[in-house]
Symmetry: C2
Subunit: 384 residues, 2 copies
Amino acid sequence: MREVAVIGIGQTPVDEHWDKSIRELAAEAVILALQDAQREDVDALYVGNMLSGLISQQENLGTLVADWAGLRYTEAVKIEAACSSGAAAVRQAVIAVASGYIDSAVAVGVEKMTEAKGNEITAALATAADADYEAAHGVSFVALNALIMQRYMYEYGWQHADFAAFSINAHQNAITNSYARLRERITEQDYAKAKMIAYPINLLDASPTGDGAAAVVVVPKETLRKNGKPIIKIAASAAATDSIAIHDRNDPLWLKAAEISSKKAYAQAQVKPADISFFELHDAFSIMSALSLEACGFAERGQGPRLALEGKIALNGKLPITTMGGLKARGHPVGATGVYQIVEAVLQLRGDAGENQVADAKIGMTQNIGGSGSNIITHILVKE
Amino acid sequence: MREVAVIGIGQTPVDEHWDKSIRELAAEAVILALQDAQREDVDALYVGNMLSGLISQQENLGTLVADWAGLRYTEAVKIEAACSSGAAAVRQAVIAVASGYIDSAVAVGVEKMTEAKGNEITAALATAADADYEAAHGVSFVALNALIMQRYMYEYGWQHADFAAFSINAHQNAITNSYARLRERITEQDYAKAKMIAYPINLLDASPTGDGAAAVVVVPKETLRKNGKPIIKIAASAAATDSIAIHDRNDPLWLKAAEISSKKAYAQAQVKPADISFFELHDAFSIMSALSLEACGFAERGQGPRLALEGKIALNGKLPITTMGGLKARGHPVGATGVYQIVEAVLQLRGDAGENQVADAKIGMTQNIGGSGSNIITHILVKE
């Protein structure tokens, strides 16, 4: 198995891109990543996307993006794993390069959400849940997460205000990320009085959707030479599922798929949680930050919020998270998010994160969650 | 790169399965394949599917199928490449096992089409074309293929009746395949008087949709021991794209992606067209059979129909095609078709094809086409 490195990254701002179609967004990120890699082509393209069929009436998206990005004839597919489609596409690219079947690949995550009408997006996002046994009862995706958060607060005795620190940290970090959608500071008061969406999740617990695309170029590490610049190796790539429906889980407050995929990732990279310099986790809702930190071994069960309350998740903390704003403030164009996380990790490891730079960033971890914790993919990137 | 072998296959009949949801269809094929492989689990699941979001309001399909098939916690994603989603899923499984990241995988193709209402399927299938520059003009997927067929007849001087032999052969082979949807003989007269759909494509030029699922289990070949049974090696797996829109091609009568992927496959397997024992091609429309034969080196440009007219495509011919009925008569549950083709190839190579057995079948080729020739995946399987 060949070791794999990232040699190019590209991203568009997360925003309402009324002037750009899904093919244009994706191609922009692909071309930026190829330019960054100083390449004109690759052997394969993997497009992470969840909603193109439902929102843009466009499947065969791999082909479309290859065609539009100047990669006509290059093999291409779309990879779908709900909100973890982005990391799933990166994982396929890593595996393909590791296998020797191909020598280079681009993984691009793209989502075009803001052109949807009315509650189309709410219905479309509910396709990540169990259509027959969850969505059929009218429960939205936010409501499913709200049920988890409510139970978590009941079981472990937390107040709603205890989750504010996750959102405040994310917004703080987004201010200096020009690709972020919500570049504004928020306070505990803002958080407390934000509009309720589905109790106890309010507007400042939830990440905003958006249009966006991010891309990475990967090649065998053995083809790279030390030229003064750091080599960013993908030291681990691991994935796991859980039951798609929350009611089928023995413990709905434990992200089993995060535990499995992170343990596999630690083993592959031969590191332990304490070695991680920063963690780009999947804060689609503030409760998910807590659950992810616990399942990955950064906090005791039921104690995730403590890390945030104690300031350990800040850029200068023990375990910086959502260093460029996270889903909460950079934005969550669902199928693109997992690739944004990896692009941001590469920026940190290259030392190119500007005002958001984590000091001495050597080992970065990313975690992308699909569904309500049902499909979770963990990557560990290491600077060499 | 590890060599990869198929050790298990499973399929459901292609039919109107009113009593089975998409998860049940997929799980049935997965479980049959695992039983055939004498295994209870695998390391990864790849689900080939095009339409679950649009027709069943279900994305996150990889997770759903893993969960329902008894593979909870196993990593899983959906792979989408329009009508070549099935072969794309197999290709990802092959690459993943070849890489060493995982040691076993199931690829399942599944499609649930017959529960769609009115012309939902026509609209959903059009998402394989260019949404902005083809489908937006109201052209259906059949109409796109009709334009190709009409031009082909004009350029090379063929009559509509010259394509009958493709459909007659497919129907003949389906009679003895209990998984086929249309198990009835057709004649030249039936073909000539069939209802017109989009001139010159009539009902007997076109493959029927349907509900169905097929699955294969793949492992490293090195883990298998000779035990009297043949080992079925995946000797080649290759993919390529073309422009998604037909009007963007220099030559709309040449399947460039078939040429590229078949040439790569021949090189990987170290064989030439004359070595192929049988060819499961993608006869979604009779014109596609002709174009596929030409682009893969079995016929001169413009001469594809000649092979059929001369009887060379029959089970006892020089190059048997669609040996179990093909898309035309086995049926075309779009995202599942590519896996059906590989299941059928394995049956042939094992010598388990019953009345449809091709004598001395040693090297089988399959080709799955997504869009109007825009995403083409070729596999070569060899009996050792």
